[in-house]
């Protein structure tokens, strides 16, 4: 554009010189002023930055990664640049998924796989990310448009499909398996799957795929009243899968008509969705870059600014066959896990000089690792209170199942309060 304007200016000058009649001089000068003005404007027209080969820690205004690489200097992350090796799949590019995608893009994630079948609507404008001029585009196309402008270094793959259909599911599975981005990676082709969908059916499908692929994933959700949300880490076999807690039954309770009248238009807030997306991506960064503590479950209650956390173990009677297989594998791998944990503890013990913190231990208090209280041998030798409470918890699931008619999120809240009762009893 600048070249064109320059040529136009030259032409005008030539025209001015060649015209013998001075009466046109004034109008040509006016045209010249306009073109000069346009040339100035053109300098501020959007220009895409070129790709960056290596992430630099150099502190200059033009380095898109200086603030991220500073995490290393601050001692938070050991090797930030590893982020370029990771692939993250985001299922559902809505109020949470699109913001999570933008955050990961700005962090310089290696590759993003985006799944959605919906289109951008004006009704989405109370959330972040999508803009009114994108109305009518598929969410995946609109997301690629914005994300590739923000950071051209990220490899973006978009899948405009419904993962709950048989065909969509097959494409979903094969896209997760594909290892072209990092052929040497073990397991599937992605490091993490983020579920940012808004319904039970799609969550069950992500759960099914991840259980079959033995793929770690994180679930996220915002309640229909827009004032609470949660994120959850799911490691097949190790933590509860999405089917481990029995689904809530609508047929057992309230009239579908009254339920659906309320349910059809869920409320949403950009704030709650942004907070949940932030929590989700924070947990993702901690998981991928190995810093801090990765939360197994983190709730957000906006009305009370309450952030509960808890852990959920898998249900040995889970209805999902793939989940049971993963549970079996996890138990079989216990000796290897114990040996690795012991070796790590010994290595750490070498660093820290051995000395008792207290000389006497009048009450015989000792620290027990409860995360390794396995369901098989733990039943008889472990803490009976904890195990009893666990079975009460599962009992309560069933009671809730029969008596109440709640959406899955409400159900999880109930589950949470059960767990809190249990924690209070346990302390």
């Amino acid at each position: 554009m600048e070249v064109e304007l320059k040529e136009m200016l030259d032409d005008l000058q030539a025209l001015k010189r060649s015209l013998p009649d001075p009466s046109h001089q004034a109008s040509i000068d006016k045209l010249q002023v306009h073109v000069e003005h346009l040339t100035n404007l053109a300098q501020y027209a959007p220009a895409r930055r070129s790709k960056v080969k290596d992430m630099s820690a150099e502190v200059v205004d033009s380095n898109p990664y200086s603030r991220l690489m500073a995490l290393q200097r601050m001692g938070i992350v050991e090797n930030y640049e590893r982020i370029r090796e990771f692939s993250v799949a985001i299922v559902g590019i809505g109020g949470v998924g699109s913001v999570a995608a933008e955050m990961l893009t700005r962090c310089g994630i290696g590759r993003l796989l985006l799944y959605d079948y919906d289109k951008v609507e004006l009704a989405n404008m109370n959330r972040l990310f999508f803009r009114p001029e994108q109305v009518g585009m598929t969410k995946t196309d609109a997301a690629v448009q914005t994300l590739s402008d923000i950071n051209p270094d990220v490899v973006l793959e978009s899948y405009t499909l419904n993962i709950t259909t048989v065909q969509g599911f097959e494409t979903f599975m094969s896209s997760l398996r594909k290892k072209t981005f990092r052929p040497k990676k073990e397991g599937s082709g992605v490091d993490l799957v983020l579920s940012c969908v808004d319904n039970y059916e799609a969550r069950m499908v992500v759960n099914q795929a991840c259980n079959e692929l033995n793929q770690t994933w994180m679930e996220s959700g915002v309640s229909e009243d827009a004032v609470s949300g949660h994120i959850q880490l799911l490691i097949p076999g190790e933590t509860a899968c999405f089917a481990c807690a029995p689904p809530l039954v609508v047929a057992s309770g309230v009239d579908e008509r009254t339920l659906k009248r309320e349910g059809v238009c869920a409320a949403s807030l950009p704030t709650t969705m942004g907070v949940v997306a932030g929590l989700l991506v924070q947990n993702t960064l901690k998981f991928l870059l190995k810093f801090g503590h990765v939360s197994p479950y983190l709730g957000y209650n906006a009305l009370k600014d309450y952030f509960p956390t808890m852990e959920m173990r898998p249900n040995p009677q889970c209805s999902n066959a793939a989940c049971l297989e993963r549970q079996k594998e996890y138990l079989l791998a216990k000796p290897a896990r114990d040996a690795a944990a012991k070796a790590k503890m010994e290595a750490e013990a070498l660093v820290v000089a051995e000395c008792p913190i207290h000389d006497d231990n009048e009450w015989n208090i000792s620290v027990v690792d409860d995360s390794e209280l396995d369901r098989t041998d733990g039943r008889s030798s472990g803490n009976p209170l904890i195990l009893c409470s666990e079975s009460i918890l599962y009992g309560l699931f069933v009671v809730a199942d029969l008596l109440l008619n709640l959406d899955n999120f409400l159900f999880r809240k109930l589950l949470l309060s059960c767990s809190l009762i249990f924690q209070e009893n346990g302390s």
């Binding site: 259909t165 048989v166 689904p247 047929a251 309770g253």
Partner: protein
């Protein structure tokens, strides 16, 4: 099941339950399940006809039995309103229900979300239509007609000119 109107409840209890718990990825078991689905649908349709309340036709639109299309209709103020009906069988069926769509009403009303959680894999397509779509039509169609959102097909020629 309290909370359901007596008609829905009595219809539901008369539809035969399904015995094979299989989804579209389960090969031969799914074929057996499909046979049961058809049996239940035929029983439900027969029941509707004998009660003078025939209100839908549906059949599989592909060989795998994963896509279903048909018609449903509802009579309001002595006028019959007919709509196309379609849905896909989700991969996690019968643990999750199909999402029933009426494409002609898409965008005219709240998103049609008739999907509900099956409490039992013994429920099939016939149960989903009985529990999900039938009460939905009874609740929504009168509102849509009275508010002018949908017009009877005999009216539509004149109304489109206005």
């Amino acid at each position: 099941m309290e909370g359901w109107d007596p008609n829905t409840k009595s219809a539901l209890t008369q539809i035969p339950l399904l015995s094979i718990k299989a989804g579209p990825r389960d090969g031969a078991a799914w074929t057996q399940r499909l046979k049961e689905e058809y049996k239940a649908l035929i029983a439900y349709t027969g029941m509707n006809k004998s009660n003078d309340n025939d209100w839908f036709r549906i059949s599989a639109a592909n060989a795998e039995g994963t896509r279903w299309t048909g018609k449903c209709w509802y009579v309001h103020n002595l006028l019959k309103y007919e709509f196309d009906l379609q849905f896909d069988i989700p991969v996690t069926y019968p643990l999750t229900a199909p999402e029933i769509e009426l494409p002609q009403l898409d965008g005219k009303t709240h998103k049609i979300d008739i999907g509900f959680h099956f409490n039992s894999p013994r429920f099939g397509i016939a149960h989903a239509l009985c529990l999900g779509l039938a009460p939905w039509l009874a609740a929504e169609i009168p509102i849509l007609v009275d508010s002018g959102m949908i017009k009877h097909k005999d009216d539509s020629a004149s109304s489109s000119e206005s």
